[in-house]
Assembly symmetry: C2
Homo-oligomer: 410 residues x 2
């Protein structure tokens, strides 16, 4: 029943792992239209100027700017409307001195024009004549070629998580396929003599496996591909076989330990036996999350997560999610947004330990409150009933009722 704890704060534990990671993600070619949520494998440069031609930024008239100089409401200039620039084709109209041509947002300018006069700056006199009520400078209301992106300039860095607007930006340049990194495959082994599959009716002393499914969902959310290896009893050889299969089939391996101390001990032994460099961290300076193992085997990260579902989820967020980001080559992970809420109860904590407390959010009288849920970490419904996490930092002795705190929704 002895346990060795090489207890580290989670940031240090993660650093110990990522500093040793040498993973080079495989490169895949994805249709750009389906690439939201994927990570760029390399940086991308623009093959052309965007826009490719001077585009009008307004609805109005192509003009020669010099024809408008000095124009004012009391002293309008008069221009003859020579025609209209149709959308989507080269202008058939050209303008000379004293002439204008109807021009639309996003369209080309008339030949001979060097600025766009907004329709609001004009007054129609008759079908063929407008009054100009204010001057425009050359280039005014015109988007110049390359003003959005210049040919040859970098449009996206490597390791960038593609968003809808990035896909739009690539499509605008005709980039219809894009090199992205392969989704990291993360194998999951759940251990414990007490576990049965969710489709079974548990016998006395048995419980259904939960962690395979919560962890699979979290892996997908982080951009990885879960590889469920299966449920394994507390049998050393069976666990080693499952672990080796998990390492073969995945880029990383997550072990969800059984809830008994003997099961945790066995998982630790199995992880320690898998290969070099082996166990890097055993234990986190964290609540919950103490019985956590971080290892590296043949270049692949291996995690021993606590068996109870609440702790497993917390440790996943601290260690596994950022590791999946690293394995996918993601260099700018999304910043976790927070909502501000008023704490309803004191949250005492120990200095030197980072606490993660789950809260329910409730709005009363226009104020958003964060109500800590003090469920035992063995209870999965503690997480079902909660809306987010409040972190009590390492250097604080606690948070007080009435304080405004940041809640990370989940």
């Amino acid at each position: 029943m002895t346990e060795f704890f090489n207890v580290l704060p989670s940031g240090d534990a993660l650093g110990a792992l990522t500093a040793r990671l040498r993973h080079r993600p495989k490169v895949e070619i994805a249709p750009t239209a389906e690439a939201v949520g994927r990570v760029t494998a390399g940086s991308l440069t623009s093959p052309e100027d965007l826009p490719a031609f001077p585009r009008s930024a307004m609805d109005g008239y192509s003009v020669r700017a010099s024809d408008t100089f000095g124009a004012a409401e009391g002293q309008p200039a008069y221009l003859t409307v020579a025609g209209e620039v149709a959308m989507g084709r080269a202008p058939s109209v050209s303008i000379g001195a004293g002439e204008a041509a109807r021009t639309f947002t996003g369209g080309m300018l008339a030949r001979g024009g060097d600025a766009v006069l907004m329709v609001e700056q004009t007054q129609a006199v008759d079908d063929r004549t407008i009054e100009v009520l204010s001057p425009v400078a050359p280039g005014e209301n015109v988007i110049q070629p390359g003003e959005d992106v210049r040919a040859g300039s970098r449009i996206l860095p490597a390791g960038h998580l593609l968003r809808p607007q990035d896909v739009g930006g690539l499509m605008a340049l005709g980039i219809t396929t894009v090199e992205v990194t392969a989704r990291p495959r993360v194998s999951i082994v759940s251990t414990g003599d007490e576990l049965v599959p969710p489709s079974s009716k548990p016998g006395p002393g048995q419980v259904r496996d939960v962690n395979t499914y919560t962890v699979s969902g979290l892996i997908r959310e982080a951009g990885g591909a879960p590889v469920p290896i299966g449920l394994v009893a507390d049998d050393y050889e069976a666990q080693r076989r499952a672990a080796k299969e998990g390492l073969d089939r995945g880029d990383a391996l997550v072990f969800s330990a059984g809830s008994s101390v003997s099961s945790r001990d066995m998982t630790a032994e199995v992880i320690a036996s898998l290969g070099k460099p082996g166990v890097l961290v055993h234990g986190l300076a964290h609540k919950p999350g103490k019985p956590t193992i971080v290892a590296l085997v043949g270049g692949k990260p291996v995690f021993g997560l606590p068996g109870n579902p609440v702790s497993a989820m917390v440790v996943f967020e601290l260690l596994v999610r950022p590791t999946i980001y690293a394995l996918s080559g993601l260099s700018d992970p999304p910043a976790p947004g927070a909502v501000s809420a008023r704490l309803t109860r004191d949250l005492p904590s120990q200095a030197g330990r980072e606490d993660h407390v789950h809260v329910k959010l409730a709005r009363r009288g226009g104020v958003l409150y964060a109500e800590p849920s003090f469920g035992k970490s063995n209870l999965i419904y503690t997480m079902v009933r909660a809306d987010g996490t409040v972190i009590v930092p390492l250097d604080k002795g606690g948070l007080y009722a009435g304080e405004d705190v940041d809640v990370q929704p989940f």
Copy 2:
């Protein structure tokens, strides 16, 4: 060139639509293991107690609490270890007065035991005897049947977005399939004589379609299924045909108007012609987003989005995303988290108008700064280079450089 604007703040525009929505989402049966991100079609109640048996919350010993009363470090009680409760099966050991049985976290108690003594509260004397250093109350360190969830109690409401922990909670109760609402199908029609598909080389005056792809990505992020109907020139009959196809195939229709005023006018006419009750809102009190149309046709929402990609994305977030949530039956949409950052420049605004300003986030000297990007809204790379949005509220005349503002990352 006349335009009619029935300009409303976005909240009112959305309310005008959702108050009239009578959509009842179709119900689908999904494997629970794949249901993260889906919305529950009905409320769910627990078929059984969880846990199903009294579970130990600790590693230690099953005892009769009365045997430990009065025990203290200086005055230990002595108990005989009668055996061990194996994980995952009914206990084979029973304890009488003066006896204890090794018991593990998550396991059953020995028959005859009514509390669990933590291993830290004991001291081994020999293989068969322990000293008890502190007393336990009956039920202490025991999770009672139904303590996590009671049979018959509601576990999830209808209209709930399923998260990894919810899937875990369902699996714990053997609920391996779940009734969810169908993903709302949202048809997309892009209009404008100037548009060509991204795979084409644009001719003079032509640009590649962007909005079909940004809007598709946003629809997917909101839990919908995009149905791209295609690119349509500024031809009234062709647009009507496309709109009718979109209404047939989708639960909602998004029109992305061309950039010229004539194209916007035609889109507005087409939307107005589709059926009853028709156009509800024409114009938003918003920057960007003025030329926006909200309509309802035969119970299906129809949106006319501005043609330029930046405005289209902003209006999508304001109107289309919450409508997709409503169509999917989602009653508790995720709270958009924000990060706090220091504004680098003044953001003047008009009172009575809500401005959405895109910003780039940059950390310098430990401070996170929000740098407004004042790109023209015709430039898609304005959005590619930005990290999030700052909202200048309706009732404010602006925000000042140096203020800490909430940035919603995107």
